[in-house]
Symmetry: D2
Subunit: 145 residues, 4 copies
């Protein structure tokens, strides 16, 4: 299996700017690995909300996370600002694999690269939708290179 | 105004044992101040749920936090285990002031002391209840010295 | 004692823009109370670092939190952007009380108001400094109305 | 590629009991996916500290996370208690792949399964150690089935 490598900004379709927090730094002085994952779902959902696909308060379709993965190449540290690069990796009937690169502000290659797989379900029954709603299909176009 | 002082275990009516996490330690090697507050609402709600007062999924009355306060006397650090001591400080018609002391396992005086004020509201309208439900009144008796 | 009230933006000397995260929203659909406190120490330290006062990796003087307090007036929720307003409340020989208001982007009155008291100590011995270093005195001027 | 499946408790060599927190529950009423990853590094490091391998304050060898992965099968929710099952997946010269299953208290199959790869480095130079220290080798034996 090929070892994952840091990718450049041009490998991503859209960027969400995010801020870091004092408590993100762990005892070794850089962002704890868990925080990277928090930036993943923050960036993905933020894009989906702004695109009009996800309504976390009243929407009938919500995304449940079934898989996450992250490779770490470089340290990030508070108070750095982060750009989260997004692209769609694989799009199924009811699931989407989002690929995310986290970039320190002004840096060309990502410090971490990973993915998050959402299965879209009916909010009440928590069963996968038969097909992605139109507003999701539209939003995902904006994450395609 | 009197300066707050570390209180002994005997000043609290009930204890909830809690574990710490790797990411709780900040760059200075001890629990970040914010984590103490997270242990506050974890301990209070855990007690209320176990006592049958709070049902976070289906209950019609929920507690909204309107004030928090914490004084820090001593460091705590992962992987220490914590005992959160609880008592009722003031009980109003629709609000309760919970006072919490955080103790390192096996230590007699608290490392931090603070409070959290809940106003109990109707879940949908978010308006204060006219009077605390019976199950809350019963639960609060268990936090009275 | 006077009940705290939401203050306008003009009551603060400096603002730090901060982003919220998916996981900040709790089961009731708004920012968990603990997150507000995390924005407090993020904003204060971010200002001190940018002002050249605090060097979290190599500085010999660090700020330890001895007291935090927060009053909550209004809900905030991811994905809202937050402006953290800062001012110096009280400045002692080795301690500073920072007062912080958290504002939803574009809103005139703060959703939460609180404070955080730092005691500045020698990094190794953790003993209070006899007097605040010049770079702190200079930085604090920027937080004075 | 085989789709990952929930494994039983017997597939793990050691268990660390962990508590959940109020703020772990997200708007959908269960533990946010990021929290699972926080339980991963909490459990791994807790074991290494108790086994005498890792000294986070004074040790000269520290573990840096280079990869994390998680598959989610079932919801967990505060205030559930969690058992984190641990085993060594692959042991290199300077790296270890820890495999972790998260179990709701009293439940036989894990709600989530994943891994975390540590590269052990010299604390100051952040260069991989040529060979794992004896205390790590000893500790890892306790995570072998």
């Amino acid at each position: 299996m090929k070892r994952p490598e840091a990718e450049p900004r041009s490998a991503f379709a859209h960027f969400e700017p995010l801020t870091t927090r004092w408590m993100d730094n762990d005892i070794y002085g850089h962002l704890n690995n868990v925080v990277y994952l928090s930036l993943f779902d923050t960036a993905v959902n933020q894009y989906l909300i702004a695109a009009g696909a996800l309504d976390i308060h009243a929407g009938t379709v919500i995304g449940l996370v079934v898989e996450t993965h992250c490779n770490f190449f470089d340290s990030l540290a508070y108070p750095q600002r982060i750009d989260a690069g997004l692209r769609v990796g694989r799009q199924g009937r009811s699931s989407v694999r989002y690929e995310i690169g986290l970039f320190a502000e002004g840096v060309e290659h990502c410090a971490a690269l990973g993915h998050l797989i959402h299965v879209y379900v009916d909010r009440d029954k928590r069963r996968p939708v038969p097909v992605l709603p139109d507003e999701y299909l539209l939003a995902l176009k904006g994450l395609t290179l």
